[in-house]
Each structure stands twice: as structure tokens, then as C-alpha cells.
């Protein structure tokens, strides 16, 4: 009896506030605009069945016919992919440096990587507005150095979005790579060097392959949230940057077209399922290797 209660409470909570809402999104994505437009008269009693009656794929064909959505999905994928690669390029040397730092520094360095997680995401993105804008600190600095004559336009471009994503998700990349490098048996590198490898070659042939799982985990941890990102493209990317999270938010709040917003959400989830399944498989394999 007690066990039943213990299971039932969180189970019922998740069913009611996670599973059912999700089914509703799926259903509304299949329903007609007239039925689900605000003030959204159908309620739980009569509305669900009315929506079932109007079951069709109209919203999905609409998405397919309007190339705004395809462009948004593609550009989200591109932005998430490029940011992930950039995050590896920035994060790997940092993780490597941390793993090679003297033992007594490492807890402090770890704390310095984790600390940004505890500060507001929104504020960390906002901090870049004052740096990247045309009369911002970066342009002032570069003009003062004499490297450029006219201010660079970075704000409201995809470049600013790349910077924002790499900046806010960098700790997600550093921590798994650091964990992999920290476990790495250093005698393997010495062996490679004894056998005639140069340092660079030993790094390329031994260190990188042995830290592969950390790199893969880090890439997923950056790529998956970056794909549905809303705050960064809205704040730094301006109106020109298309990302699907932003399109969904605007479709919902500005156009009030709920069936289309729901259809956008369903397709975004379908796109995300592939990397999520791959990520889980990788995690499982890693757990098996360690066991």
C-alpha cells in the first residue's frame, strides 16, 4: 500500500504535467485553426473529441508549403552544428590545460568552469550586447588599437549567435572532455613517445582517440539545447537570424496560430529524437566500458 502511494504520486504528477500536455500539443498540431484559435473555447470535456473529429494533416502540409519553416529548421541545424564545432575548438584546449594543471589547482579551475552555470543564463547572454554592438566595447577597442577603421557589424548577425552559443554552453563541452582527459593513463603517451612519436603525433594518435567519448558527450550536450535555442538568437541575432525555437515562440505569441506552433514543435521534437537516441546509446556504451 505504501509502495503504491510512493510510486503513484510522482507518476501521476508526470503523467498530468508532462505526458498529457505533450499529447495535447500533438493533437492540436493535427487540428484546424478555427477549433483551437483563442479564446480557445473547447475545454477538456467537449473540446478533445471535437478536435479528434477534425483530425487532419493540414498544418503539416502548411509547414511544408511555406519555405520559412524549412529555412528555419535548416538554419537552426547549421547554427547548432557550427557552434558545436567552435565549442570543441575552444573547449578542448581548456579541458586539456585543466587536466595538465598541477593537482592542487584543479578543484579551483573546475569551480571556475562551473560558476557560470549558477549565474543567470539571460544575463550572460545580455553581457554580450554591450560588447558586440556597433558602438560597443569590442569595436571601441579595435578602433583604438587601429586594427579597423570602421566599426564591424557583429550584433544582429549569425556571428553574434555563434559567439553567444559557444559562450553560454562552453562549460557543457569542457566538463566531459576534462573528465575523459583526467582519467587518461599518461604512461600510454610516454610509451608512444618512447616508440618514436613526436609530441604532436602522440597527441593526435593517443590523446585524442582516448578522449573521444568526452568529445562526443560534450558535442551532444551543446548541440541538443542549441537546436531549440530561443534567447540567444532573439537577443544577439536580431530579426535576420532564423532559428526554429524563435520561430515557434513568435508564431505562438505574435501570430497566435496555435496549431501551426504545435506542428512546428512536433517536427522539432522529431528532429531532436535522432541526436538524443544517439547520445543515450553513447552514454550506455561508455557505462559498459567503465563497468
Amino acid at each position: 500500500m505504501r509502495r503504491f502511494f510512493l510510486i503513484a504520486v510522482p507518476y501521476a504528477w508526470l503523467l498530468a504535467l508532462f505526458f498529457i500536455p505533450f499529447i495535447i500539443v500533438f493533437k492540436i498540431s493535427l487540428s484546424d485553426l478555427a477549433l483551437s484559435i483563442p479564446p480557445y473555447s473547447p475545454t477538456a470535456k467537449d473540446g478533445i473529441w471535437a478536435m479528434f473529429a477534425a483530425f487532419d494533416l493540414e498544418n503539416f502540409t502548411f509547414l511544408a508549403s511555406d519555405d520559412l519553416y524549412w529555412k528555419a529548421y535548416l538554419s537552426s541545424l547549421k547554427i547548432a552544428l557550427i557552434s558545436t564545432v567552435l565549442a570543441v575548438l575552444v573547449g578542448y584546449p581548456m579541458a586539456y590545460g585543466m587536466a595538465r594543471a598541477p593537482e592542487e589547482w584543479r578543484p579551483t579551475l573546475m569551480m571556475l568552469v562551473i560558476l557560470p552555470f549558477w549565474t543567470s543564463f539571460l544575463i550572460r547572454v545580455y553581457a554580450w550586447v554591450g560588447i558586440l554592438s556597433n558602438e560597443g566595447l569590442l569595436n571601441q577597442f579595435l578602433l583604438w588599437l587601429g586594427i579597423i577603421d570602421t566599426p564591424l557589424t557583429i550584433m544582429n548577425t549569425t556571428t553574434a549567435v555563434y559567439i553567444g552559443i559557444v559562450y553560454t554552453y562552453l562549460p557543457f563541452m569542457i566538463l566531459p572532455i576534462y573528465a575523459a582527459l583526467d582519467r587518461l593513463d599518461e604512461s600510454l603517451i610516454e610509451a608512444a613517445e618512447d616508440l618514436g612519436c613526436s609530441r604532436l603525433k602522440a597527441f593526435w594518435l593517443v590523446t585524442i582517440p582516448l578522449s573521444r567519448n568526452g568529445i562526443i558527450a560534450g558535442c551532444f550536450l551543446v548541440f541538443i539545447p542549441a537546436l531549440g535555442e530561443f534567447v540567444i538568437p532573439s537577443l544577439l541575432g536580431g530579426s535576420g537570424t532564423l532559428m526554429i525555437g524563435k520561430v515557434l515562440f513568435e508564431e505562438f505569441f505574435n501570430n497566435r496560430d496555435w496549431p501551426v506552433a504545435s506542428a512546428v514543435a512536433v517536427i522539432l521534437l522529431l528532429i531532436l529524437i535522432v541526436p538524443i537516441v544517439l547520445f543515450q546509446r553513447n552514454q550506455q556504451r561508455q557505462a559498459e566500458v567503465e563497468a
Binding site: L14, P93, M94, V129, F249, F252, W258
Partner: protein
């Protein structure tokens, strides 16, 4: 043998500069007397004064704190229960669905979580306000709590619980007297995680809140969309300051504990010899 090479020092320096310079500049410019954020016009604390008189921000901060305390406490209770079921519960009908629902919110984009909860609240005719944000935040942060707590539950020795049961404890007493004290650090860090997630959340809150209860991130969001403002810099500085102070205090306390534990171990070893 592990020696800091020039390459490592350079990459760490540049990397940490990249991570911290934007926040440091934000803090510096919050003391700028000019309204123009990018022009330095002398030291001043006037933006802090204006911020403290801005009632909209103070109200939003109060709402945010209330929501965070309520939702993280609820999420800790539910998340700990969920973790206990996942690790100790054995088989039960619908277990796969249950663990799926625990892990799915961790990777679900916030826009989708927010949208789906909004559609639910409208569907059942629940007025949006503080209650609906609390429900939404509890749902996504209980999943984080259960991940943190279950990782601790997995590693601890089950025979301790069994011993308590053999010695006549009821299952609830065994949980309260043996399991809970052992997993307490994970439960506390789960609560802290849920608390910061709730403080930080913009997207889910904007979907699930009504006009009566605006949270601080929503307030900041509507202000920063108009560009940089010195008041927001001041507010950010206060928030960064609180977090830094909290994290440093926590790490000093845990360091002190570790040193004391080590000293106890050494004393015990000496006594044994």
C-alpha cells in the same frame, strides 16, 4: 611530471578570459555614471539607487523568490521519491514510461515544454499566475533532482537499509533514519539546482504566467530587448555578486569539512598504532 606548459597556460588564460570578461565588463559598467552604457563617464552608484526604487523590479524579484522556494521544495520531495522508485523500486507496471518521463524533460527544448504546459492549463481552464508557474517549474526541476539523487542512491550500500529493517525499523523509519541522512548532500544539491533553475527560467515562465505575476527574468527580458540599460547592469551585478558569494562560501565550508575529516582519519590512525 605534470608540468604547466606555455601552451596550456595560454589556452587556460584565454579561455577563462572569454568566460569571465563579459561578466566583469558588465559589473564595471554598472558603476558608470553615463546613461550611455558604452561611454565611461566616471564612477557612480546611482543606478543601484534607481533600481532599489523601481517597484516593478522589486515585485518581480519577490514573485521569483516565492516561485523558486515553492517549486524547488515540491520538486525535491517529488524528485527524491522518483529517484527512490527508480533505484530501489524494482519492477512495476509502466516503469519504462516512468523513467522515460524522468529523463525526457532534461533534453526537451524549453519552448516545447512551455507550449505544452500552456495548452494544458488553458484546456483545463486553470487561470495562469503564480500557481501555474510553480506547477511548471516543479515538473521540469523534479527531473533534475531525481537524476542528482539517484546517482547518490546507486552508489550507497543497500545492506545498511536492510540492517535497519532486520533490527526492527519500519520501511519508513529505515528511510528516515538511514537512507535520508546518507543521501542528504544529494538532496540538498538537488534543491539548490531546482532553486537556481527556477530563478533562471525565462522561456517556460513566459508561457505559463499571467499578467499578475511577472518574474524577474521576464522583467529583465522585456527591458534588455530595448538595448543595454545601466539599471539592468546594476541588477545583474547584484545577482552575480550573490551567486559568487554563495558558491565561494559553500566551497570554503566543504573544504573545511574535508580538512577536518582528514584530520579525524589521521588521528584515528595514530590512535590505532
Amino acid at each position: 611530471m605534470r608540468r604547466a606548459s606555455w601552451f596550456n597556460i595560454t589556452s587556460l588564460t584565454l579561455g577563462f578570459a572569454f568566460l569571465y570578461l563579459p561578466m566583469i565588463l558588465l559589473v564595471i559598467y554598472s558603476f558608470n555614471s553615463s546613461k550611455l552604457v558604452t561611454v565611461w563617464a566616471g564612477f557612480s552608484t546611482k543606478w543601484y539607487g534607481e533600481l532599489l526604487q523601481n517597484e516593478a523590479f522589486l515585485n518581480a524579484a519577490m514573485v521569483t523568490l516565492k516561485v523558486a522556494v515553492a517549486s524547488s521544495t515540491l520538486a525535491t520531495v517529488l524528485g527524491t521519491m522518483a529517484a527512490y522508485i527508480l533505484v530501489r523500486g524494482g519492477r512495476f507496471a509502466g516503469r519504462t514510461l516512468f523513467s522515460g518521463m524522468i529523463y525526457a524533460p532534461l533534453v526537451m527544448p524549453e519552448v516545447i515544454t512551455g507550449l505544452s504546459l500552456l495548452l494544458l492549463f488553458i484546456g483545463i481552464g486553470l487561470d495562469r499566475g503564480t500557481l501555474t508557474i510553480v506547477l511548471a517549474h516543479t515538473t521540469f526541476s523534479m527531473c533534475y533532482v531525481s537524476v542528482v539523487v539517484s546517482s547518490r542512491l546507486v552508489t550507497f550500500d543497500r545492506s545498511l537499509e536492510e540492517a535497519a529493517l532486520d533490527l526492527g525499523c519500519s520501511p519508513f523509519d529505515a528511510f528516515r533514519l538511514v537512507t535520508l541522512p546518507i543521501i542528504a548532500p544529494a538532496v540538498i544539491s538537488g534543491w539548490l539546482l531546482a532553486f537556481t533553475l527556477s530563478l533562471d527560467d525565462l522561456v517556460i515562465a513566459s508561457f505559463t504566467t499571467g499578467p499578475s505575476s511577472t518574474t524577474l527574468p521576464i522583467k529583465i527580458w522585456s527591458a534588455v530587448r530595448l538595448g543595454v540599460s545601466p539599471e539592468i547592469n546594476a541588477l545583474s551585478t547584484i545577482m552575480i555578486g550573490i551567486v559568487t558569494f554563495g558558491v565561494i562560501t559553500a566551497s570554503l565550508v566543504s573544504k573545511r569539512k574535508a580538512i577536518r575529516a582528514q584530520r579525524d582519519v589521521q588521528a584515528a590512525e595514530r590512535a590505532a598504532v
